[in-house]
């Protein structure tokens, strides 16, 4: 059963749980218990599984370790402590592992230095991908009592029989940064490792999960503890200390009229504000949403305010490890005035004391906002302080609603990826190396892990078939098969001498990044871009690279050819592929806010107000003001939001909301636009936009260009395709009748997204290896024809597990098909209304979408028609050119 702990134990009750030596050390060092510790000491003593969520500085790590150290100390006193591993600590970050190792070794040193008795010392060791071979060897001979490691190293340990001998007395498992694991394949991979570990040890051990807040907590607890043989979830106690730290936060709008003010003024004001905050505080942490944004902010602060190298630093994933470690060290010592980061500093690495956090632009989720703010105010008694500086009108509304939700403690939800077949394939190879399994025994073990609890037996069997090479003829299986599998005996096990090495060398879930070389017309290398960025480029697009502007000409396998476009305005923003999607819950909250504010304003606005609105001088009436005043936002923000809504209302008479999708037919110079104001987040809109685009493409016999963002999507067809409001209404109704999954599948088959995801999945499933026979295989080689490989696999078996996983990942992890279906059902039943309107120029609420959406093209379903149409267009262009 999963239970919430709501009444903390007293100080005495908690401390009484500790071994006297540990208690003495603890009381000597800390004057009081932090909120999570007032639960955890007692619960650890009782041997309960625990999930603890709390912000930085809450003594979270020691809330987990103190009880364990106490137990190990007891064992030492009783002479029962041996050179065995009793506790495994897993975190996704090597940097964090190093911190933990230091933070344990130090106190242990202190504790034992004060004990006169000849007690056996409690030891701690670290094993990650960085650990040298000789240290690993030493660890085999003399294992540490506490092992600090990563998910990947843990999976390797499971297949190192000699190392596993030292694990048989395991009592505790700590999983740190659980919020960084529970929602992705890396965490799914870990969950299987943990169940394999449990199976090999032959009994349950105590599990402690640590993390920043996430919702729903019971789902996170299930992810941690998994299920028993009988299918019931294991017990877990949840300690939620997220809100025990005081927080002050708000939205700061840089100008009074963010809708109409010039970009330059907005930018000047943003940097002035950042500088003010830095000046008023000792250390400030600035978060941007992208790596390029981080670089830009540092560059601007240095240029504008003459910060020297000793007082400002950037920290993000593209920087080398040494640079990042250096920055962390400076922060710890309190030497920096300001650090700017994309995501890398939001995790639990020790960075010393931060006074204030600034977030530039929307962090896209309430949980992330809270977590980032929580980096400030080092001790749990300090107040965390943070503000979001918004950069545009939609950002403003989004962040205002976000922080309003944070104030009400509404956290958006996460999802554990379910039944990921690629990750399971890896583990099945690992398991087969350990021993001979019966199918049922292995299937039952896999289902202990929460992400696989609902795994279909058929899918499990299809993996065994795939791994045993049944997709090629008998004569080739010697090379293809990774496991031995006997269908009659329903058993599988080890096969091939190379397989163990394949497992060790290709383990893990993080795909190799693909850098696309950018070349100029003379075939000279200019720089590199991410593959995802390339997939969004179409010829003629203008983008910035390394401070210069280029026009994209064409792509060839792994190269992008460009020409010089100095002086032109980029058509593709540089952060494209890095942008995080807005969470669905928050999107719906924004929709509700739109509804509330617009109905408060509706009927009171008059045409005659237009002049005042454009001058930003219309005064909100009491009702509207009441709504805005209740939110944690500044004066500029209130005024900007009010005028933004007023503009939309006067122009279009409607403000779309969570129950009203506005479908706006409009145009630009070359194209007819159908703008869907569907504020449900990009993951939902990605699915919705494809369905509508496919329908529109069918009905207008045209490929359809699509622009998507969190707030909606635009479908564009050439102006020559005339579309009336009635045509659009018909298109919407026919899209509502479509079989979404089927229609999307046939569309996605031909996209770059599928190609890329399939390649990642093929690598994770050991179909296309990254390392083989001691050679690293370049991504470049892997890249060759991944779409053809997909099609080839599909021809052999449309339900090939890697294909199935690719669709699952796209539908569930990339898009949000279940919720998109919910929206379509709502539109069908009328619980969500839609209204078609016609405008000459796009309405105010669509401006950000028009200029900054992610673009893609949905090709016609009928390939024969598509090629003919393509030919018609090409020949007509040739005639025009002649």
């Amino acid at each position: 059963m999963i239970e919430y702990c709501t009444s903390p134990y007293s100080r005495e009750e908690s401390l009484d749980c500790l071994n006297p030596f540990i208690r003495k050390w603890f009381e000597g060092k800390y004057s009081e218990l932090t909120p999570p510790q007032r639960y955890s000491f007692k619960l650890t003593k009782e041997g309960k599984n625990i999930l603890i969520t709390a912000p930085t500085g809450s003594g979270k790590t020691f809330s987990a370790f103190t009880g364990i150290l106490s137990d190990l100390m007891d064992m030492s006193v009783e002479g029962k402590l041996e050179d065995k591993i009793y506790c495994v600590y897993v975190s996704p970050l090597r940097a964090l592992n190093n911190d933990i190792y230091r933070n344990l070794s130090g106190p242990l040193e202190q504790i034992f230095s004060r004990i006169a008795l000849p007690l056996k010392k409690v030891t701690v060791g670290i094993r990650t991908g960085d650990t040298p071979q000789k240290d690993r060897q030493r660890m085999l001979k003399k294992p540490p009592n506490i092992l600090v490691t990563t998910p990947e190293s843990l999976a390797i340990i499971l297949n190192s029989p000699r190392f596993m001998e030292n694990m048989m007395s395991l009592k505790y498992l700590i999983v740190d940064e659980i919020h960084e694991l529970a929602n992705n394949k890396r965490g799914v991979h870990l969950s299987l490792s943990v169940e394999r570990l449990c199976d090999m040890v032959g009994r349950d051990f105590m599990r402690i999960g640590l993390g920043a807040t996430l919702n729903p907590l019971d789902e996170a607890a299930r992810f941690l503890v998994g299920h028993r043989d009988d299918g019931a979830e294991r017990d877990c106690m949840i300690v939620d200390a997220t809100w025990d730290k005081n927080m002050e936060f708000g939205v700061m709008c840089p100008v009074a009229d963010i809708v109409n003010e010039s970009d330059e003024k907005v930018e000047n004001s943003i940097y002035k504000r950042i500088n003010d905050v830095i000046t008023e505080n000792k250390t400030t942490l600035v978060f941007t949403n992208t790596r390029s944004g981080t670089e830009r902010v540092v560059y601007n602060l240095v240029k504008r305010f003459k910060y020297g190298e000793e007082s400002i630093a950037a920290h993000h994933g593209s920087l080398s490890r040494e640079v990042r470690l250096g920055v962390e060290e400076l922060l710890k010592k309190g030497k920096l005035r300001v650090a700017v980061s994309s995501t890398s500093l939001e995790l639990g690495i020790d960075i010393g004391s931060i006074d204030n956090v600034i977030q530039i632009g929307s962090p896209k989720s309430v949980a992330r906002a809270i977590q980032r703010f929580g980096r400030s105010g080092h001790s749990f008694k300090d107040t965390a302080k943070g503000e979001i500086i918004v950069t545009n009108r939609d950002d403003l509304v989004e962040c205002s609603v976000m922080l309003d939700a944070a104030k009400k403690r509404h956290i958006d939800s996460f999802r554990v990826p379910r039944n990921a077949l690629d990750v399971l394939a890896q583990h099945l190879v690992g398991m087969s190396q350990n021993k001979r399994w019966t199918v049922d025994e292995a299937y039952s073990l896999v289902r202990h892990a929460h992400p696989y609890h609902s795994l279909d037996k058929k899918d499990f069997m299809s993996l065994l078939e795939y791994l045993s090479g049944m997709f090629v003829g008998l004569e080739s299986r010697r090379v293809y098969a990774k496991i031995w599998y006997d269908e009659k005996e329903r058993a599988f096990g080890r096969r091939g001498k190379l397989t163990k090495l394949i497992y060790f060398m290709n383990i893990g879930t993080i795909p190799d990044e693909v850098a696309i070389d950018v070349m100029n017309r003379e075939n000279k290398w200019i720089g590199s871009i991410e593959e995802e960025f390339l997939s969004r480029l179409k010829p003629g697009d203008v983008f910035a690279l390394g401070g210069k502007i280029y026009r994209f000409e064409y792509a060839k396998v792994m190269k992008a050819y460009v020409s010089d476009a100095a002086g032109q305005v980029p058509t593709i923003p540089p952060w494209y592929s890095e942008q995080l999607p807005l969470t669905y819950e928050l999107a719906v909250e924004i929709g509700k806010f739109r509804e509330a504010l617009s109905s408060a304003m509706q009927g009171r606005l008059k045409k005659s107000h237009a002049a005042k609105i454009s001058k930003n001088t219309l005064m909100p009436d009491a009702k509207a003001l009441g709504i805005l005043d209740s939110m944690p936002i500044d004066k500029n923000a209130k005024s900007s939001i009010f005028h933004y809504f007023a503009e939309q209302l006067l122009f279009a008479k409607h403000v779309p909301n969570d129950r009203l999708v506005l479908v706006e037919r409009s145009r630009d110079d070359e194209r007819t636009l159908v703008i869907f104001h569907s504020l449900y987040g990009r993951r939902v809109n990605d699915a919705l936009s494809r369905i509508f685009a496919i329908t529109l493409g069918d009905e207008s016999n045209s490929d359809v260009a699509v622009n998507v963002n969190d707030n909606g999507f635009i479908l564009a067809v050439p102006l020559s395709k005339k579309l009336s409001g009635r045509d659009i209404d018909r298109m919407v109704r026919s899209a509502l009748e479509a079989d979404m999954e089927h229609t999307l599948k046939s569309n996605i088959r031909r996209t770059e997204m599928l190609r890329r995801r399939f390649r990642y999945n093929a690598a994770r499933s050991f179909m296309i290896l990254r390392n083989y026979k001691g050679k690293k295989i370049s991504v470049r080689k892997q890249q060759i024809n991944s779409q053809l490989i997909f099609k080839a696999a599909e021809e052999i078996n449309p339900n090939f597990p890697i294909i199935k996983e690719t669709y699952r990942e796209i539908f569930e992890d990339v898009m949000d098909l279940p919720r998109a279906k919910g929206i379509m059902d709502g539109l069908k039943s009328g619980s969500i209304k839609y209204k078609v309107i016609e405008t000459d120029v796009p309405s105010p609420f669509s401006h950000m979408l028009v200029t900054m959406g992610e673009s893609d093209v949905i090709m016609m379903k009928d390939r024969r028609k598509h090629i003919r149409e393509l030919r018609r267009q090409v020949l007509s262009r040739i005639r025009k050119g002649a």
Partner: protein, 248 residues
């Protein structure tokens, strides 16, 4: 689609029918590709041979030829004969003879076809070192200039394709035949690759004279017409030069 008098590109297939020789012509099979990739750590499903058999079956349902000319790159591996290459070639040869009633297989050696003689001992298979000349037709693979001349020259090796973008930016790569003439006045056809895994070289975007020396001086790539393989039909897309010239 008729390319020249007596030379037809079979609709929607990368195969020529040459009436006077009563022959099919295709190029660049790259048999054994998957097996070779598996040795390098990419365990691809085996589809190439199946795919080639399917194409040739469809081709001969229309053409009823009794000869096939494979214009080079039957196999994939340069340095040896891979078991899979041998097995697949034997299977293909058997299929051509038994299922399609083709009595003669003429192989023009390509640059990948080293040691091919170890595979072609079967009756009814002829291997030609550099090129094959018959009744005014010259078949040569294309990595080198041909030594002979003929009224009609047929080449492979290049894997020609074109990449075009439609009005809203969708990218499409289509395999194609190239047809035109040489500086010496011969008719010239370049065959697309029949191999499943050969995506092709975009002749309207990339330089080709390094790959196919005939386009250095002896023929003008820009004047070649691109005849693309569509769905069940072959469609003319204009000349390579015209395709290069349009604003994509």
């Amino acid at each position: 689609m008729r390319i020249f008098e007596g030379v037809e590109a079979l609709d929607g297939l990368p195969v020529l029918h040459i009436r006077d020789l009563n022959a099919l012509a295709c190029s660049d099979l790259h048999l054994g590709y998957e097996g070779r990739m598996a040795d390098r750590g990419a365990f691809l499903p085996k589809v190439n041979l199946r795919h080639i058999k399917d194409i040739l079956r469809r081709a001969n349902e229309k053409a009823h030829a009794d000869v096939i000319i494979i214009n080079g790159d039957v196999k994939n591996e340069f340095s040896t004969v891979h078991t899979d290459e041998l097995n697949e070639f034997i299977e293909l040869a058997g299929f051509l003879a038994k299922d399609l009633g083709i009595s003669k297989i003429i192989v023009v050696k390509g640059n990948h076809d080293n040691f091919i003689n170890r595979m072609t001992w079967r009756e009814g298979i002829e291997v030609h070192e550099q090129e094959f000349l018959a009744d005014g037709f010259l078949f040569f693979h294309g990595e080198k200039l041909p030594r002979s001349h003929a009224e009609t020259m047929v080449m492979g090796h290049l894997h020609p394709a074109i990449t075009v973008y439609d009005d809203v930016g969708a990218r499409e790569k289509l395999r194609c035949f190239l047809s035109g003439s040489t500086a010496g006045g011969s008719r010239l056809v370049v065959l697309p690759a029949i191999s499943y895994f050969a995506e092709g070289v975009s002749v309207n975007l990339e330089g080709v004279s390094g790959i196919a020396p005939i386009f250095k001086r002896h023929a003008d790539i820009d004047k070649m017409k691109a005849l693309c393989i569509g769905e069940g039909e072959t469609l003319g897309f204009g000349s390579v030069g015209e395709l290069k010239g349009i604003e994509n």
